[in-house]
């Protein structure tokens, strides 16, 4: 007998053919699937393919089926709150986001140990932090901060119950915040190697430039350069900071070169072939 797929119309209701989760059945799925690896041949077809049967499939959750189920569930739902139409408004009213997962088993034990995991997300822009506090917080937190969207993520799973993990996560957030505002005695020993950004004003580069600009052949003690030269130095400062902060590449290096040429009043090579 030919497989059922050859008799299926193209516009059938797939949700009726595959109503619930089921292991893959090749004769019922009208797709020319190939899955698996053979050294010399093409990936094997769907008939008699143990691989396709082993992996989970979501053929019971195609988009039209999902829409239908959501329509059916709507009668049991309450209305979405009025002032929270956009994502931005949600974030403004609810800056703290707590993510948990629920699992249900049909085995003798309905519990799942993964249900205890609690993830807490908050945007650092919503917390009142000055520069020192923010720097200290970032150092304490390390990889848990995403600079691209300014989100701090704390994931806890060390306690056996979800409520305990949630309390722990909130406790961590509170502690981080208050600790980052405290200034310890040993923080004054911060050296240039610990600095998180490149401060040109305190760097050797500035000393070099000042020394160079004020150097005279009879070797007087270096005086501070006059304000008239400040303009060049500001741009030079920017060029060096750019190399240090943004990384060295053709563009930053060529800007640096231009600034140095200006410092030494070197003319461009006037005409090229």
């Amino acid at each position: 007998m030919p497989p059922r797929t050859s008799l299926m119309p193209v516009d059938q209701d797939w949700g009726s053919v595959w109503p619930g989760p089921r292991t893959f059945h090749p004769a019922s799925v009208p797709l020319p699937l190939r899955q698996g690896y053979k050294e010399k041949d093409a990936p094997p077809g769907k008939f008699g393919n143990a691989e396709l049967m082993k992996i989970p499939n979501f053929l019971h959750l195609t988009p039209p089926v999902i829409t239908r189920q959501c329509e059916a569930l709507k009668s049991f739902c309450s209305a979405w709150p009025q002032g929270l139409e956009t994502d931005a408004k949600c974030e403004e009213s609810f800056p703290l986001e707590i993510i948990t997962s629920d699992y249900c088993h049909s085995s003798p034990d309905i519990r799942d140990p993964l249900a205890r995991i609690v993830t807490l997300k908050v945007k650092l822009g919503r917390l009142p932090l000055n520069t020192h506090a923010k720097d200290k917080l970032l150092r304490l937190v390390g990889e848990r901060y995403n600079p691209e969207n300014d989100v701090l993520t704390i994931m806890t799973d060390r306690c056996p119950l979800r409520q305990q993990n949630l309390d722990y996560a909130l406790y961590l957030l509170t502690t981080l915040f208050y600790e980052s505002w405290k200034i310890e005695a040993w923080e004054s020993e911060k050296s240039e190697a610990d600095m998180e950004y490149y401060d040109w004003d305190a760097s050797a580069s500035r000393k070099n430039v000042m020394g160079l600009l004020s150097w005279k052949p009879d070797q007087n003690a270096a005086e501070m350069s006059a304000d008239a030269m400040d303009l060049d130095i500001k741009e030079f400062k920017e060029a060096v900071s750019k190399i240090m902060n943004e990384g060295e590449e053709e563009y930053t290096l060529s800007r640096y070169k231009e600034e140095v040429k200006k410092l030494f009043s070197l003319q461009d090579i006037s005409s090229k072939v």
Partner: protein, 401 residues
């Protein structure tokens, strides 16, 4: 004429077979004589050569052309190093030393000509990928220095000292430091051969007395060459001699008695903490504890005038852990950058189209490319593609052809 010959050769190959063609080629090469340029009575203008062998007069009109370094100058400048090994072999094969005049060299020469020498010495740092021509550009600038009457302080290749030093001994004068005596003496010999001529004309004297031991004293007012001779003969004091010499030259330059060109190849090796220099106790020594480093770090500071400093940073000159990028700030490291800042970074790039054409013309002229197909348009495109515009790779690809 070269191209017409090659066309004849291909016709020959069709009618007479390959063996007679190669005989024809060998005969031609004997006739042409590898030691001379092809006879001057040629109507075709040689696009890739220029007769101007004085770098002082090189400008953009001579761009992408090869100029010849006269044999005596080459001996004077590069007898003890300065040209890369493969290039040196090539010059012996071609019986002439020809360097291409390229943009980075022209740029630095322009700056050297127009810079204000009453202001502190400007430092130029050349950087680029492996095989792009940094060492040869430095050689070109060195020739310019010689031709314009600069006093030359040239270190051919710093990693030679850091990786393959000949002799290590504990320094007598500096606590915890290490001397590379034979290398220092060899450098003094190199300095002498480069600068003997100019030191004969400019009379430079020592500004103070140096006491080496009870019997050996270099008095104030003695000529500089005496110090050099002492360093060469008394190898024990060679490193200290180098330091003293450098300080004296710095003082003389600042006072205007001479102008100095410092050319150092592989400068980043002075700032990289890993070397292969080991004491007798098999302890690795960082460059900061080697006396020779101090001399050349001293001369690359900005607190002297009437001179210029041209350096190269090469990623092949240091340990493999710092070879990710060829850019100068990364190669010099924090210390090196702080020492040299502000410097003018100059990028030495791969060949562009004109330069590659010029180079291939030169190889064909020198009979280096023997395969007939290399003269055709298709052959040249193939070579262009294979070498990826990198001069070093081109040289090696053309070698078996």
């Amino acid at each position: 004429m070269v191209y017409r010959l090659c066309k004849i050769l291909t016709l020959d190959s069709i009618f007479r077979g390959v063996s007679s063609v190669s005989h024809h080629q060998r005969a031609l090469s004997v006739v042409a004589g590898a030691s001379e340029i092809l006879p001057v009575g040629e109507k075709q203008i040689r696009r890739f050569r220029t007769v101007e062998s004085n770098p002082v007069k090189h400008d953009h009109n001579h761009a992408y052309k090869f100029y010849t370094i006269p044999l005596e100058t080459k001996k004077q400048l590069f007898q003890h190093g300065g040209l890369p090994t493969f290039f040196e072999q090539q010059t012996q094969t071609f019986m002439e030393t020809c360097i291409m005049i390229r943009d980075p060299a022209l740029e630095i020469l322009h700056y050297l000509k127009t810079a204000d020498y009453t202001r502190p010495a400007i430092r130029y740092v050349m950087y680029g990928e492996n095989g792009c021509g940094k060492s040869l550009t430095l050689a070109h600038i060195l020739h310019y220095g010689l031709a314009s009457g600069f006093l030359l302080i040239h270190v051919p290749w710093v990693p030679n000292w850091m990786r393959a030093c000949k002799e290590v001994s504990n320094s007598a004068t500096r606590e915890g430091c290490v001397d590379l005596n034979l290398d220092a003496a060899a450098w003094l010999v190199h300095f002498k051969s480069q600068n003997a001529a100019i030191l004969n004309t400019i009379d430079l004297r020592m500004s103070k007395e140096y006491v080496w031991s009870k019997r050996e004293v270099t008095k104030e007012g003695a000529p500089l060459m005496e110090l050099v001779e002492l360093g060469i003969s008394r190898v024990k004091y060679a490193s200290e001699c180098v330091i003293a010499l450098i300080k004296e030259i710095k003082a003389h330059s600042t006072q205007g008695r001479c102008k100095t060109l410092v050319a150092i190849n592989g400068f980043n090796a002075f700032f990289h903490p890993k070397t292969r220099v080991m004491t007798e106790a098999k302890v690795k020594v960082p460059p900061s504890k080697i006396t020779l480093t101090e001399a050349f770090v001293e001369i690359t500071k900005y607190d002297w005038c009437n001179g210029a400093v041209v350096l190269t940073v090469d990623k092949s000159g240091i340990a493999p852990d710092r070879r990710e990028s060829c850019l100068p700030v990364y190669q010099l490291g924090k210390e090196g950058f702080e020492h040299l800042d502000p410097f003018v970074p100059i990028c030495v790039r791969d060949y562009n189209d004109k330069e590659l054409e010029s180079c291939l013309d030169y190889y064909i002229d020198r009979r280096w490319l023997q395969n007939e197909k290399s003269c055709t348009e298709e052959g040249r495109n193939e070579l262009k593609f294979l070498c990826g515009m990198n001069p070093y790779r081109l040289m090696h690809i053309c070698a078996p052809l």
